[in-house]
Amino acid sequence: MPRRDLTRPWEIQLELETAKGNHIENVQTSEPIPIGTINGFESRFRRLFPNIVERTQRATGKYNCHGMVFASRRTQIYEPQLLRQILSEDGYTKISENYILPGDIALYVSDSGQIDHSAVVVERPPAEAFAKIPKVFSKWGAWVEVIHLANECPWAQEVGTTIEYYRMV
């Protein structure tokens, strides 16, 4: 049964657990963003990232990037430290960028070690490429899902951010 906090009736929390049965805090919200605001955001971000492809059409805050990757697009996982718990308890293994495959998970880790963003690999980098940058798709906040090169997104451009790849083997 979804959990509802009576002091915060606009939010729903789903029963979400790791493979080891530990609960993962999450929240589902449905507060709409006005179309005019979204349009302004889109025009600014399309200029900043001209090569991105929007995979979905409707902006939604129902799930975030971590919810897309680890909770099947049903909810937001908003505590970055819980992602390490998921990686460990669900049995993910870190993969060298030389061995990336479609389906692997890309995590954007800040210089303080916090996971700021997550994505799913859709295309491995060409074997002959000097820089091993795969194509990924990810959910950009409350906007849409976007296909982009792993290094072409706002999170990759934060100073000190590195991208780690994981696979459930």
Binding site: R8, R44, Y78, E79, P80
Partner: protein, 165 residues
Amino acid sequence: MDKVSLNDNTLSDIVILANTPAFMFKRFRRDSSVQILASRLSTPELANCANNFSMRQNRSFLDKVYAYAYLAALSFKPASDVRNELRHYPNLPIEWSAELIKLILENAVSETYQIVLLTPQPSKFVGLHSQTSSTLSNVTYTTKPDIKVMIPINNHNERKVVHLD
């Protein structure tokens, strides 16, 4: 209260793009208009405005953005003042408010300092005696007197060292 104009577009973009409260908080704190807000308004004014914007009937998206801006500005104020003020507003009806308040208190200005006295030892510097000679010789330099430093103690990893004369 001084009128401060916020960077509406930039802050709205951050709210749309934010996937976690931590990301939003980090980006809001970096925004110059939020920093100006923090310098112009007192802690009670900031907390009151955050509450008013989050409580507005038929709250607009921009009201929500402003509520976040006032909350983020609170993190530039002394931690004890912020804690006292936020006691008046235990349940801000805005997404991620509990997580944001935690981040604000972790990042607010610490008022507790650890004073450390550093006594430098005479240092030895090994270097070339002259540019034309290849002979190495030891050169001893005198050091400055004791240095007193104040290290703020808070829950955050960030350490600000304040040198005292």
